[in-house]
């Protein structure tokens, strides 16, 4: 019954209609589906290998959820401990309530350092606050150094996937893009394309005044941030420039550096099927005395931007345990059909559909919670066992309670309830009448599906006939 509303009746407003339009187009694009299935197929092939490293995977996932629970239930203490410890090492911690606050602070640092060029490593939080657009307006060149993000920046597109930003592009697409934008021959191989990116970016690391990274984890007990990557661009971005800025959401906390012994392999396996990604870097402040290189200054920006709304919602709070591995995107039948860009959000897929309405605005984004078949595969694959599909239902429930469902739907459901609770009313109508009522009342259902076809006899009639036969 839940799905009666699944395709649009409840979706109102411009954001929702854009979402439906984009989804409709993408879902029938076979070329898109072929590329996504190819990429996700490769992901699915390696993840089981990564999982073999764990002795008891279910126990590990439960322990991981308990650990994040502990961190989030004591978030204030964790953040204060982190701040105290990393400040003692000479880093400056800045708290930002909104994206605008964070941008203003970054702008201030850039101005102070007379910054012309920034090298930045992959970070979804910087996408969330639209950092590159802001820096561009200030006349600062901000270069994405992760290969996938570099490709997306060349194409002037946001990342398609939180772990694999250019997942929707074939190697031919990328070769063509490089030929157009970088004046190189068309038809180069992935190896050749990678080499070009390496050559283009190598000098930038040593020239840039500022390096910006995100953080996969914030560590309270040592006052550190942890960055997970494969390419080395994160290490270079935090190694050469004189100023290192870290931007991270407040929920990324882990209580202890020892927790990384589990969370680093967990993130690697569920993100890319690896045992451990090539580089896992733990940074606790700027260059210390007796060290030969590294930035003179380090800033850590702790961003709220709606996360405290999620925290205040005791049902949805566990969405803050997310480690952004992307497993739920890869597992989601809706994501695979409509693609990452149709969502129109920074965080796409099931986790995006859960948190975006809470981070931003339930009324405007509630439609995402309906873009789900509730198959539960997201919950099944989540390394920290977030009950994603239940949280989608919870969002739907909240939006109905808050009166966000359209009047026509509320009336329809009310009539449905009255009729189905009343045996004589059900018996009164034959199949033809039911067909007519339901198929016109729940238009949204029939938009993407065949009409419902009710039996000519009522259940009550059939029951009586069957019973009569047997006795």
């Amino acid at each position: 019954m839940t799905n009666f509303t699944a395709t649009g009746k409840i979706m109102s407003g411009k954001t929702a209609s854009t979402f439906i339009a984009k989804s409709t187009i993408k879902a029938s694009n076979l070329d898109h589906r072929r590329k996504i299935n190819f990429n996700i197929g490769k992901y699915n092939a390696v993840v089981p290998q990564g999982k073999t490293q764990f002795n008891d995977l279910m126990a590990v996932r439960e322990h991981a959820k308990n650990t994040k629970w502990n961190a989030v239930e004591h978030l204030d203490v964790m953040l204060e401990t982190f701040e105290k410890n990393i400040s003692a090492r000479g880093a400056k911690v800045i708290w930002a309530e909104t994206a605008e606050d964070a941008l203003k602070e970054i702008g201030k640092i850039c101005k102070e350092k007379n910054c012309k060029t920034i090298v930045k490593s992959k970070s979804m939080v910087t996408e969330e606050i639209h950092l590159n657009k802001f820096l561009e307006k200030q006349g600062i060149e901000s270069i994405e150094t992760d290969l996938g993000e570099y490709i997306q920046q060349l194409d002037n597109e946001p990342p398609y996937h939180i772990v694999t930003p250019a997942m929707h592009k074939s190697k031919e697409d990328i070769a063509k893009l490089f030929a157009e934008k970088l004046n190189v021959p068309d038809g180069l191989s992935p190896q050749q394309l990678t080499l070009i990116a390496r050559e283009k970016l190598r000098k930038k690391y040593t020239e840039a005044e500022i390096g910006i990274t995100g953080a996969n984890f914030i560590i309270a007990d040592t006052g550190s941030i942890s960055v997970t990557e494969n390419e080395g661009n994160g290490r270079l971005s935090s190694g050469f420039p004189k100023t290192h800025i870290v931007i991270t959401g407040i929920e990324k906390v882990l209580p202890s550096i020892n927790d990384l012994a589990l969370f680093l392999p967990l993130l690697a396996t569920f993100g890319t099927g690896q045992k451990l990604t090539v580089y896992n870097t733990i940074i606790s402040g700027p260059r210390q005395k007796n060290e030969i290189d590294g930035p003179e200054e380090m800033y850590v920006i702790l961003l709220d931007n709606g996360r405290t709304n999620l925290l205040a919602n005791d049902k949805a709070r566990e969405a803050l345990y997310c480690i952004r591995c992307g497993a739920c995107l890869n597992a989601c039948p809706v994501y695979k059909n409509i693609g990452g860009h149709s969502y129109g959000t920074t965080y796409s897929g099931p986790i995006g559909s859960v948190i975006t309405p809470q981070l931003r605005n339930l009324k405007e984004w509630k439609h995402l919670s309906y873009a789900s078949s509730l198959c539960g595969n997201c919950t099944e694959v989540c390394p920290v066992r977030i009950n994603l599909h239940e949280l989608l239902l919870e969002n739907r429930h909240e939006s109905v309670v808050e009166g966000d469902s359209p009047v026509s739907e509320r009336v329809a459901w009310k009539m449905w309830k009255v009729a189905s609770l009343n045996r004589s009313m059900m018996n009164m109508a034959n199949g033809n009448l039911k067909n007519k009522v339901v198929n016109t009342m729940f238009k949204a259902w029939t938009k993407h599906r065949a009409d419902l076809d009710f039996s000519q006899k009522t259940f009550n009639q059939m029951w009586k006939e069957e019973r009569g036969k047997n006795s």
């Binding site: 978030l75 708290w95 694999t164 080395g232 012994a261 606790s284 060290e291 290189d293 566990e318």
Partner: protein, 212 residues
């Protein structure tokens, strides 16, 4: 200048405290404090060699420093590597002891290979634990080739042991950067096709010397 920041801090902490006034229960009460996540099977040398090689790392075992010197000379000779970058005193001393010539004035930016030590080796994952206190932040990542010299006494089983070792070695504060480096730099951002040598080194060597 920091007035706004100060109030942001207070606002966020206030919101957090208000939200947490309504606690949620521990998700899995039955799960033990710390289950055995990983099982240690077999000799550490062997585990490291297998795991490192599986990541396309080039592994070599040397029974002593003299054999190390020999192997290094052969490698430098066959690859015609002359511009070797070394910024650690103990490696310089090792090379001097074994009479391996180190040309002066080599830049990291245009060297053939960079040679470093490491804090320890992680057998389970085939990783080198490198630190800013020992090798700096850039020498092991900017060069096209990274050569790491380690001793069998530096082998530990898991990341957890690596953290303990670091905390023990630097009781007044861990290095500003530590990194677990596991094989050559790689990407699979183009059609999930594995390509090595993106921004970090394309080749990583580990010479494991018996002893110390």
């Amino acid at each position: 200048m920091y007035v706004k920041t100060l109030s942001s801090r207070e606002n966020i902490l206030k919101k957090i405290k208000q939200a947490l006034a309504k606690p949620v229960p521990l998700p899995f009460e039955e799960t033990s404090e710390s289950p055995a996540f990983f099982i240690n099977e077999g000799e550490l040398e062997l585990q490291f060699a297998e795991n490192f090689a599986a990541l396309q790392g080039r592994f070599s075992f040397c029974s002593d420093e003299a054999e190390l010197a020999q192997q290094l000379q052969t490698l430098f000779g066959t690859r015609q590597w002359k511009k070797l970058f070394v910024n650690e005193q103990n490696i310089r001393e090792l090379f001097a002891r074994q009479q391996i010539e180190l040309p002066p004035g080599i830049n990291l930016a245009d060297c053939d290979a960079s040679i470093t030590s490491c804090e320890c080796l992680i057998a389970r994952t085939g990783s080198m634990l490198l630190s800013s206190a020992q090798t700096g932040r850039t020498s092991s990542v900017y060069a096209p080739v990274h050569i790491c010299i380690a001793y069998t006494s530096q082998l530990v089983f898991d990341l957890k042991d690596g953290f303990e070792l670091i905390k023990r070695k630097y009781p007044s504060g861990i290095p500003s950067l530590i990194t677990f480096a596991s094989g050559p730099s790689r990407t699979a951002d183009i059609e999930k096709t594995l390509v090595t040598g993106v921004h970090g080194p394309k080749e990583v060597f580990c010479f494991l010397v018996e002893g110390r």
